[in-house]
């Protein structure tokens, strides 16, 4: 009793303190949520929930798909427009304005049931799409301020002079020193300039492309971007087309399927040959693991005397783009290659068409689809925020900035 620990009364990191910290953290998180989502949530979201009150029960489950749920939603709200469906409606008709407004009204993905969103999207399909030049220009100018693809999309000799210490996108501590050998691989300057192409197609690999018959429409574009070395063999040719101007390759594919190019190289070269003269685009400076593999791609093409160009994403461009989309509500460890390509395409092209961008397990009519048009390998969960990216595209479609194709294509 003679000696008392001076800190005993203060309860350093004891139960009480921990409890207090816990409550504080909870409060902070709630507050942040309120700030970030709050305004829209209160303004529109509540109103919505009251309107379709019977759906309040399973309101929270955005990914809660059941067969009957999908079928049911297909039959109740959506069909009411199909009753008086007589060919595509004009872009500026009141009905279309209304339908577009319905989509734009959904500010946050989790605000409505997914089936509800699908219905609105499906209804919108009956309207013709037109580019809204003013909206598009506003958007493009925002992009040019944040990201500036015509100057910074690739590493070039102009934007990355010899001796630059290039910072990686994710491994921020990692620095790549541009030496003579790497410098020589870069193009002199960006090969594309602002709004160079009239009509661009960005082809995602979503299962929605299967049996779409969009091949000819994709091929009719002036410039076609494809993601992640997709197969364009005869089997898929009618759905995805063959024209390719830029194809991205994820270094993880090279690591897994081609042994980092340390063993055989011909198989990889043969795969690239399929795309004929398409340029190969790699995120070499995304993280330190990607660099060697990506640089090796250049050597492979040089060794086999191929005409294909190899370009590398500029890490700063990637940082800027993901920062921009973070502001738009795309929260993910990494934004997808598709989103980067769309962002770049918006600056490089006058008109951007998206094919195969649909990251939901079912198509808008509620029929289940495979994850990719060529396989059904699910991605790593929690890496990309695909639904939220798609949601952004739907918004942009409604605003007339770009066009998302999700149905089957007629002829062009």
């Amino acid at each position: 009793m003679g000696y008392t620990d001076p800190s005993s009364g203060r309860d350093l990191l004891g139960n009480r303190t921990l409890f207090f910290i816990f409550i504080c953290a909870f409060a902070v998180v709630t507050l942040l949520q309120q700030i970030l989502y709050g305004r829209n949530y209160l303004k529109r979201g509540l109103q919505f929930s009251w309107q379709n009150g019977e759906e309040l029960a399973n309101w929270s489950g955005t990914f809660n798909f059941t067969d009957d749920g999908a079928v049911k939603s297909g039959s109740d709200t959506g069909t009411r427009y199909f009753e008086f469906y007589e060919g595509p409606l004009e872009y500026n008709s009141t009905k279309c304005l209304e339908l577009r407004q319905d989509i734009i009204a959904v500010k946050v993905l989790s605000m409505v049931k997914q089936t509800e969103l699908f219905d609105r999207w499906k209804s919108l399909q009956m309207c013709k799409w037109e580019m809204n030049v003013t909206e598009a220009n506003i958007f493009k100018s925002t992009l040019s301020r944040c990201c500036n693809a015509p100057a910074f999309l690739f590493t070039t000799q102009k934007n990355t002079p010899l001796g630059t210490k290039l910072k990686y996108e994710v491994d921020t501590s990692g620095i790549f020193h541009i030496n003579q050998e790497i410098f020589k691989m870069f193009p002199k300057d960006m090969p594309y300039h602002r709004s160079q192409f009239r009509k661009c197609a960005v082809v995602g690999n979503g299962g929605i492309l299967k049996n779409s018959g969009c091949g000819r429409e994709i091929d009719s574009a002036d410039f076609v971007f494809r993601c992640n070395l997709p197969p364009i063999s005869e089997k898929y040719f009618t759905d995805v087309g063959v024209k390719t101007d830029v194809v991205t390759v994820n270094p993880s594919i090279i690591t897994e399927r081609f042994h980092k190019l340390e063993k055989w190289r011909k198989p990889f070269y043969d795969v690239l040959q399929v795309y004929e003269n398409a340029s190969v685009l790699l995120p070499a400076f995304y993280n330190t693991r990607n660099t060697d593999v990506s640089i090796r791609v250049k050597y492979v093409l040089d060794d086999f005397e191929s005409q294909q160009a190899v370009y590398y994403f500029h890490p700063q461009y990637l940082i800027n783009v993901s920062r921009y989309w973070l502001g738009q509500g795309v929260r993910a460890k990494r934004i997808s290659t598709g989103l980067i390509l769309v962002t770049a395409a918006l600056e490089l092209c006058h008109e951007v068409h998206l094919f195969g961008f649909w990251a939901f397990p079912m198509n808008p009519s509620g029929i289940f689809i495979t994850h990719h048009y060529y396989d059904n390998v699910k991605p790593r969960p929690g890496f990309h925020a695909m639904p939220s990216e798609i949601f952004n595209f739907l918004h942009m479609h409604s605003k007339g900035i770009l066009r998302v194709h999700t149905g089957t294509c007629g002829c062009c």
Partner: protein, 452 residues
């Protein structure tokens, strides 16, 4: 404590023992059990034998072949084949302790079904890289054999063809050649050498198309600043021959001389490209130039460099050292990818170990046998008539003239790794007993030879 030592009884024994020890040491010094004859003695011995005519002793050949068959079975075990190394077999690296590997599906698929030669081979030439080959004029004679074996990807350019021939059926390659990476030494060496002087580039019908020098056509003499030269060296020159028709052709050895003040730099192009400095007409090799960097980056340089060997097998000791396996397999992949005419054969570690043991029992004490001796042993097992050229590890030739270490450069090996003189003595013994023929003199004039 110290006092105890003094109390120890003194006997005469230690004195007697040490005296005996000293005596034995002296005896061994004066009359050694075995002493390797030095260079001069060997050369003298060889000279004594020179005048005599050499005849193949067919019984001796057969006996020696029998010996080899018993110990090592070269016909079956020479290379890794599907027959002698089935999948799942565990093999020990012969150049390392305690490391083994298991043949898996991917490795197994790289092996040929059986040893891909028509055995037994008739006439074989085994060509070492000794400096004695220089100006020997043996090229024709070497090419006359049915099967020509060479060591360590030697240069076979136009310049040497008269002395070493052109034909190759089998050439060994050490994984270390492929593992070379650029180092800064060459740069600093050249900077030092160039000093502050302006380097004059004398081009003998050649055009340098490097990054800095490639833009414009160069006439016979051109100026380069010393800072530019080493820079472009690291990335390799692209040498192109510029003839009168302004048609570009690849440069050949000795077509280009870069003279540095009083010095000259000579570049020779082959698998082992060396960078030589001519100082008062004396060749001093600086460094390797073409770097394959383990074949993980560009591979074309390697494929181009082995083109001189036409349809031949590249024999690689892939499973001798742990570090050598990756590069050797990569050589295989590279050549297959490019559809090259050359094919890769992997040396069988068991065969190499057995041959090593065989020669050890004959009294060669070295960490490892040289590639040349491996090849000669294999040839003795595979061929009916063996002639060896360029096996001469000494710095003087038969006439007492100084010669370079290799016929293409003068890079001395690390001492203590190979026991070259011992190996030579063994081969010389085989020559004397008529098992193989060792060509040391200059070859005869081809005209007189054919008539004789």
């Amino acid at each position: 404590m110290a006092g105890l030592a003094w109390k120890w009884p003194r006997t005469r024994l230690p004195v007697g023992a040490s005296a005996l020890g000293v005596f034995v040491l002296c005896w061994l010094y004066v009359f050694p059990v075995y002493r390797l004859p030095d260079e001069k003695e060997i050369v003298q011995g060889v000279l004594l034998q020179q005048g005599k005519a050499w005849r193949r002793n067919h019984t001796a050949v057969a006996v020696f072949r029998k010996l080899l068959e018993d110990c090592c079975d070269p016909g079956q075990l020479f290379a890794m084949t599907k027959l002698n190394s089935p999948m799942g077999k565990n093999l020990w690296f012969d150049g390392e302790f305690l490391y083994s590997f298991t043949i898996d599906n991917t490795t197994y698929s790289l092996f040929p079904q059986a040893t891909p030669f028509q055995l037994p081979l008739k006439k074989c030439s085994v060509v070492g890289n000794g400096g004695i080959l220089k100006k020997s004029g043996c090229g024709k004679q070497i090419d006359q054999a049915d099967f020509v074996m060479r060591c360590n990807l030697p240069p076979l350019s136009r310049e040497y063809s008269k002395d070493v021939g052109l034909k190759t059926q089998l050439v060994t390659a050490n994984p270390s050649i492929i593992q070379k990476s650029p180092n800064e030494d060459l740069k600093t060496e050249l900077r030092k050498l160039a000093g502050g002087m302006v380097i004059w580039v004398a081009l003998l019908g050649c055009v340098l198309t490097g990054e800095k020098i490639g833009k414009s056509k160069y006439s016979l003499t051109n100026q380069m600043s010393p800072s530019e030269l080493p820079h472009s060296l690291t990335y390799g020159f692209e040498l192109q021959y510029w003839n009168n028709n302004t048609e570009k052709q690849p440069c050949h050895t000795s077509d280009i001389i870069i003279s540095v003040g009083h010095y000259g730099l000579r570049i020779s192009f082959a698998a082992e490209v060396s960078f030589q400095l001519i100082r008062n007409a004396e060749l001093v090799t600086l460094q390797m130039l073409v770097l394959f960097q383990n074949l993980i980056w560009s591979r074309k340089a390697f494929v181009d460099s082995v083109k001189v060997y036409n349809h031949s097998y590249i024999y690689m000791p892939a499973f001798s050292m742990k570090t050598g396996t990756g590069p050797s397999l990569r050589v295989y992949y590279t050549l297959k990818d490019f559809g090259a005419k050359q094919a890769v054969l992997f040396a069988n570690p068991n065969f190499l170990r057995d041959i090593g043991k065989f020669w050890k029992s004959k009294g060669i004490h070295a960490k490892r046998l040289s590639t040349g001796l491996f090849l000669v042993s294999a040839a003795l097992g595979l061929c009916e008539e063996v002639t060896i050229y360029g096996f001469w590890p000494f710095s003087v030739d038969l006439h007492g003239k100084f010669i370079s270490h290799h016929y293409y450069d003068n890079v001395l090996p690390d001492s203590g790794f190979h026991a070259m003189p011992e190996e030579f003595l063994q081969l010389w013994f085989l020559h004397k007993s008529g098992v193989l023929r060792m060509q040391l003199e200059q070859c005869e004039d081809p005209l007189t030879q054919s008539s004789a």
